[in-house]
Symmetry: C2
Subunit: 249 residues, 2 copies
């Protein structure tokens, strides 16, 4: 039996091409991109875990973590508009037993969720510091792309608070240019970076994205995976990327 949800005329329902997941998006709001797919695939998801997605936006990562076997995923989102849209996507996919969207500010995480109660925290946070580039006039899009409401340090601090001590995992997708800041912030928060992968459009160019996973309380020692290439020379998705879609079917 399908669930029914109300869709605004400016909204659309996109097929994730993964499992049979669908996600509601709005033409004027931030829409998910490949970054979210890459993070959802990269992160270690053990069966039965409890996870949090910080700044869930459309909810796409929360939905995908549930599809990958998480027992429960909380998606935290600052924007009421985005949180409403993500909540309807959860219902549309009949995942309301597994995924819960909460409107709230990750900077106030202590008032929202319990400490050290989660196995996994993920985030596809705003990539650019304020002052670093064009700021979108749409508030929600600006907040999704620039550190207007939460900095890298805020995200890492929230993860530190939420994660179980020993074995709690934190994963993020971000820009390679912020790698030193990311690894330093994680290390200082006691979340030891353990796996890192750089994502390339083409191997003769600089990487375009960074995937990193850390473990709270772990010993130093980082596994750097082979490069992940998005496109074939003809511009179509590489076998690795196509594989991600197949794995969920």
């Amino acid at each position: 039996m399908d669930n029914q949800v109300v869709i605004d005329s400016k909204e659309r329902v996109d097929d994730l091409l993964i499992g049979q997941l669908k996600v509601i998006q709005h033409e004027k709001e931030f829409c998910f991109s490949l970054d979210a797919i890459l993070l959802s695939h990269f992160v270690t998801v053990k069966p039965g875990i409890k996870a949090v997605d910080l700044g869930t936006g459309t909810g796409v990562i929360a939905l995908l973590l549930a599809a990958r076997g998480a027992e429960h995923v909380t998606g935290l989102e600052l924007s009421q508009t985005m949180a409403d849209m993500a909540t309807r996507s959860v219902f549309l996919n009949q995942l309301d037993g597994k995924v819960k969207i909460i409107q709230g500010d990750l900077c106030n995480i202590k008032d929202i969720l319990s400490s050290e109660g989660y196995d996994l925290v993920v985030s596809n946070p705003p990539y650019r510091p304020v002052g670093g580039g064009y700021i979108s006039p749409n508030d929600n899009v600006a907040r999704a792309k620039h550190e207007v409401t939460a900095t890298l340090q805020d995200v890492v601090n929230a993860a530190r608070y939420l994660l179980k001590y020993r074995r709690g995992r934190f994963a993020m997708v971000h820009l390679p240019e912020r790698m030193a800041e990311i690894l330093t912030a994680m290390t200082q928060a006691g979340i030891e970076p353990k796996v890192l992968q750089l994502v390339y459009s083409s191997l003769d160019k600089k990487p375009v994205m960074l995937l990193v996973e850390g473990v709270k309380g772990a010993k130093p020692g980082l596994e750097v995976l082979p490069p992940l290439v998005i496109y074939k020379p003809d511009g179509s998705y590489s076998n690795e990327i196509m594989q991600y879609y197949k794995e969920y079917r």
Copy 2:
């Protein structure tokens, strides 16, 4: 006119295939490897700079920095045996006006060299923490490969002491598995990581080496270069590596 130096019967004189540089090595001691060549090429060497190579070993990096245009290079080496050999290599290449080898412990850098007096500090330090793997029975080889006498933190602290404030550069070759520790240590020492390159034997495998350069007092923002591949599929050196040798001719 060639310089004459005395060579022990267990020593050999290896041609660096770069400029016309030669380096004396001993069959029982630590011999330089591709790591040193990669670091010497990777690092930014502006004409007329004063540089220090921490743990210079055979002196190969100090010789190459001079060949790349450094006005003066100090090679600091703990082992008296290695320092003697490196000093003879300097004379053999008639670079005694530009390169000076000093026997000393980088942990006591304040007693050996002046603070904030150098434009560039480089190091090809011991890669592995003590306790991490086989320890060579030869003391000097052990010290070159394991952090017996100096840790990563000691190397970074010495670099911080030596470098001029603003624009002083520090570069290192190391293992990718220690990337988080390296970037954190540099950041905490006020040497902001600015350029990083991963070195691969093959692009479908994990990287084998890490090259990183930081600038004292710089703002955050890391440029991650395209992957550097050592070998062609047929096992010969890649065009990039061959190019390094050509550039010095």
